[in-house]
């Protein structure tokens, strides 16, 4: 593994090794506090994404390393028209590893083809966001012990949600995982992704009702239903409330079910759910830092 651009760049075994390392870091952070001493992470954020950038920076600091970079294109040489390839070749002379967020799809792949140091895709437009998927996987594994045989409900915008598409692709590689795709008709999973699910042999079904699906779920992955995805306001208002998770709807769920959300949320999970032990989304944020620490160590060849 030299770069991480797409979650499917990683084999199931590589994912497993990363998640195991992330778990060991979480259990004994002091053992890893000096691993990246004198190493530098460059965070090249061509569009703002505060929480992802802070997660990468916190990860590198907790490994004893340093961070340099920029948080918007205006403060980079891209504003002068420099290509992504030239930027990473330059930055690769200063930093040991690069985390890149870019509004254009495929920019981190272009970077990886020319970079002298490892490149991590920290999100390229609506395309890929592999460290979010690793975060999701770590959370499920940590909370429920593994993936095989789980019934995973994905709820909300399944049409445009990149986190949903990547998580489906990653989880469908494990045996016996069932998917319940919960969305309004307008925001159903695209045919392309359904075909990939079919090819993987995974068992899946679609429903428009969150309440109907709730009792059978081991994991509920919530996403935002956005107003701009609908043709008219009336449809949006009619459907919006169906996909808001409330304590009442959660009442029908199993006691050991877990709720995940890539965050930020707007109103799709009621704050009254936050204190329920099944709400795992803030623990998920924390896991994001540990999994990024594991990834940085592995790409730098400093893992266990």
């Amino acid at each position: 593994m030299k770069h991480l651009i797409d979650i499917l760049d990683l084999s199931v075994e590589e994912v497993e090794r990363l998640l195991e390392l992330a778990g060991r870091i979480q259990d004994a952070p002091a053992d890893y506090a000096e691993r990246c001493r004198r190493k530098k992470l460059a965070t090249l954020f061509f569009e703002p994404s505060t929480r992802t950038r802070l997660s990468f920076e916190a990860a590198m600091y907790e490994l004893g390393g340093n961070v340099l970079g920029f948080s918007e294109a205006q403060s980079s040489s891209a504003a002068k028209g420099e290509s992504v390839s030239d930027t990473v070749r330059t930055v690769g002379c200063y930093a040991d590893i690069i985390a890149m967020r870019h509004p254009k799809e495929g920019a981190p792949l272009v970077a990886s083809l020319r970079s002298p140091v490892p490149v991590i895709n920290a999100g390229d437009g609506g395309h890929n966001h592999p460290t979010q998927t690793l975060t999701d996987l770590m959370t499920i594994r940590r909370e429920l012990g593994g993936f095989s045989g789980l019934t995973v409900g994905l709820c909300g915008d399944l049409k445009f949600g990149r986190t949903v598409h990547s998580l489906l692709a990653a989880l469908s590689r494990y045996p016996g995982v069932r998917f319940v795709l919960i969305s309004p008709e307008e925001l159903r999973l695209p045919e392309y992704n359904k075909k990939a699910l079919e090819a993987s042999g995974a068992d899946w079904r679609e429903t428009e009702s969150l309440e109907e699906a709730m009792p059978e779920l081991d994991v509920l992955y919530m996403t935002r239903v956005q107003r701009e995805r609908f043709f008219n306001e009336a449809d949006y208002l009619r459907l919006r409330d169906s996909y808001i998770l409330t304590p009442e709807k959660l009442g029908a769920a199993r006691a050991d079910m877990r709720v995940l959300h890539p965050l930020p949320r707007v109103n799709e999970i009621s704050v009254a759910v936050d204190d329920d032990p099944r709400a795992a989304y803030f623990r998920q944020v924390r896991n994001g830092k540990f999994v990024r620490m594991a990834l940085i160590l592995t790409l730098l060849g400093l893992g266990d």
């Binding site: 799809e105 495929g106 390229d124």
Partner: protein, 142 residues
């Protein structure tokens, strides 16, 4: 109409009728100094009508490009008047510089010097996708 046999050269046979000129252009056969024949609407037992291109010299051709444009083509290499090699084309795994990505959110839309590269993502349906953004290609060269 009779086009003579060639001693040494390449015959692109079983071109879908009507696509011969496009293949000729894509392969830039107009740049060759040797004799080249483009035959349209030849009779074919298998296809009804077909196009054929005969090149009177053994030259390097980008078979990946032809395979993408018209995967049914047969490439016959003739040496000393005899068939030396016959290749039935298949869909290539990658196609470079032939299809242009139309996705305005793709990095190729802003970085003009990047080569547009597509990979075969579904061999049954012949679907190609941009390696950068995964956008599906529309069939045929653009």
């Amino acid at each position: 109409m009779v086009i003579g046999q060639i001693e040494n050269g390449i015959v692109l046979d079983h071109i879908t009728a009507g696509r011969g000129r496009e293949i000729y252009d894509i392969l830039e056969l107009d740049r060759l100094d040797c004799m080249v024949a483009l035959i349209k609407n030849a009779d074919s037992v298998k296809m009804g009508k077909k196009d054929i291109i005969k090149v009177n010299e053994v030259v390097d051709l980008d078979l990946d490009v032809i395979g993408y444009l018209d995967p049914g083509i047969t490439v016959n290499v003739i040496r000393d008047g005899k068939l030396a090699k016959r290749t039935r084309l298949a869909l290539p795994r990658r196609v470079c510089g032939v299809i242009r990505c139309r996705n305005p959110r793709c990095i190729t839309s802003v970085e003009q010097e990047l080569e547009h590269v597509f990979r075969l993502s579904d061999s049954e349906e012949g679907v190609y996708r941009c390696i950068y953004c995964d956008t599906r290609a529309e069939r045929g060269a653009e």
